[in-house]
Amino acid sequence: MNPPPLLLTEASAPGSAQVHLQVRAASADGPVLAEARLAAAIGLAVPRFWFHVGCTVHASTSLGLFQRQRTLLLGNDHTGASELALQGAAGEAAALQLALHGALLLLAQQRARFAPRLLAELPGVRDAAGRSPFWDGLVRHFHAGEPADAARRGGEHWRAGVAALLPRQPVYTAFLGAEVQAAIAQVPPEALALRELLEHAGLRYGHHVCIDDGGPVLEAETDTVPAVAGSRQWLLAAPDEAAAQGTPHWLLAGADGQAARALRAPAVVHADRLVLTPASARLLRLAAGERVRAWPGQAG
């Protein structure tokens, strides 16, 4: 017997601008295994800050010198972008993947609501004691305190409060300790799977890092993300256990209606309609003649 399928459901707070998606085992009202949050446009009410990781070349032919210098420049480069935040319980790679792909299908389905640019922030490295070398080696010199204190005092937008204290001019990373430099745009081992997942989904490091821990910001042009570009709406044929069973898995998401639902399940195209198993249709709460957004997935 296969394990019960994973089901993504929407848990957005009523009236919230942010989409909140949760993944659980479909069979029971069990624990949340992974979550995705999708914001349509960030930094428009309270500014958001990132460091741009730049490069300056110091060269002198007369001194025989050629050096590449990395710089950090504080800015609001991603203002107005859409943001995806993913969280998953350890070892729940499939749930995390469903949360990610479900969010991307929802984004594709409501494309006009979201921005041309999509980003996802990843956590920065921590030492064994949970301390961020980036915070300790850079931020702390401008804000003497712990991130947790700043978060407690500043609330939801505490990073903007920290940014107000940070250097406004480029910081040459040569002035920072080796452990700080090594932490720039790196993720801790436990976030490597998440990073790979996002990269596989089409997001890339674009030389921006988070201001508090130096974690990388992955970004993409929304319309080039495979799950956005490659998914489309289908009309549902009547569910058919025999026709759909054993065919390749698609990512399926309810196209219309109130709350988003998504899962990965077998599907097959027949007469320009998509055929699902009755169980899948039931989980998606869709009937024949209704629309589903579906993505056959990436090659490889």
């Binding site: 110091h58 002198s60 007369s62 001194l63 210098q69 401008f142 920290v162 940070l166 250097p167």
Partner: protein, 355 residues
């Protein structure tokens, strides 16, 4: 060797035949006067340029250097000093300017003062005091006072040839092996060289080359190691005496530091300097050697091609200063030679002190 009485020292323009003395001094003053090259040919060139500057009747261009010496009663050169008419004439003149920024975060309810260093050319065109050296055995006399301050009378007397802003660079902290905490924390990150190596190549025209490769963005001082932070504006002990003389004159060193070693840059408005403010034209008359204990007076013969100065006790009265025969002879005075005189503003004395 006992030092001569302070009245025996003579300040005068350097001459090409002072080359041996300059070479000797450049060799012993390894740290501190990077403006004196150790190379004899280069020194000869400096002296030639200086002589030309003293003799020239052309309008000043700004590239002039004027070198001076102090000789003891026997005519031996025991110290040197100089003036560069305009900083940044041949190449860009770099300094770090100290700035304080206050960052506030209303959201977190905190604010923070941040010390930054900004690479700048603010001192371009400023007249620089250079090349100060006094033989150690004369450091405890008034010779260094004469050597440093008589330059200011020269500048004041020929003010059209100089800037009204005067500055002097002083060496920053470094240990005996040449390890320089400021360099190690700042410059070294951009040039993988030890400080002595940099000093060697920066003696010539390379100083601006190197400075051009420093970060153009401000240096955020809190990011530097503590030792380097502490070294900013700190004076190398070798220059305590000349630095103290300029401080007594009214120079301040809060704004600028050297881009390489973080040493202080003293600067002032010419007119505000105590020697310049206190300078008066006067005539002279023969007088007996005055009693010890009177106030010291700098006396200069304001001839541009043959500037000379000495120290005497006494004060001008009714526009004339009494000078003993020995001083008049040393300064080669004729009966009607006009003088400039200024009270010697020693530490702890008031500039306008009157008897």
């Amino acid at each position: 060797m006992p030092t001569p009485p302070d009245t025996d020292y003579l300040f005068r323009a350097a001459r090409p035949d002072d080359l041996d003395a300059f070479e000797r001094i450049a060799a012993v003053s390894a740290v501190g006067i990077t403006t004196l090259p150790e190379d004899r040919a280069q020194l000869a060139d400096r002296l030639a340029r200086s002589s030309a500057a003293f003799a020239s009747n052309d309008d000043a261009s700004g590239e002039e250097i004027h070198l001076f010496v102090v000789e003891d009663g026997e005519g031996r050169v025991v110290g040197t000093s100089g003036i560069a008419a305009r900083a940044g004439f041949h190449e860009r003149f770099f300094s770090y300017r100290n700035e304080m920024l206050v960052h506030t975060s209303p959201l977190l309810g905190t604010s923070n003062r941040i010390h930054t260093l900004h690479l700048c050319h603010d001192l371009t065109g400023v007249t620089l005091l250079t090349s100060f050296y006094i033989a150690p055995e004369h450091a405890g006399t008034l010779a260094p006072q004469l050597l440093s301050r008589a330059r200011l009378l020269f500048i004041a007397a020929f003010a059209e040839r100089f800037s009204d802003r005067i500055a002097a660079e002083y060496p920053g902290l470094a240990d005996d092996n040449g390890r320089c905490p400021f360099w190690d924390a700042v410059g070294r990150r951009f040039f993988d060289m030890d400080y002595p190596q940099v000093e060697r190549i920066s003696g010539g025209r390379h100083k601006a080359f190197i400075a051009e490769l420093l970060p153009q963005a401000p240096v955020y001082v809190p990011l530097l190691p503590e030792q380097a932070q502490w070294a900013i504006g700190q004076l190398h002990p070798v220059s305590e005496l000349p630095f103290a003389i300029l401080q007594d004159e009214g120079f301040e060193a809060d704004t600028y530091v050297d881009v390489f070693d973080g040493g202080p840059v003293a600067e002032a408005r010419l007119a505000a300097l105590r020697t310049v403010a206190g300078a008066r034209r006067c005539a002279w008359h023969a007088a007996d050697e005055p009693a010890a204990g009177g106030h010291w007076q700098l006396v200069a013969v304001p001839e541009r091609g043959d500037f000379r100065a000495a120290l005497v006790r006494g004060e001008p009265a009714a526009g004339t200063l009494g000078l003993p025969a020995a001083t008049a002879q040393r300064l080669r005075l004729a009966a009607d030679t006009p003088l400039h005189a200024a009270p010697l503003a020693l530490a702890g004395t008031e500039p306008e002190e009157t008897a």
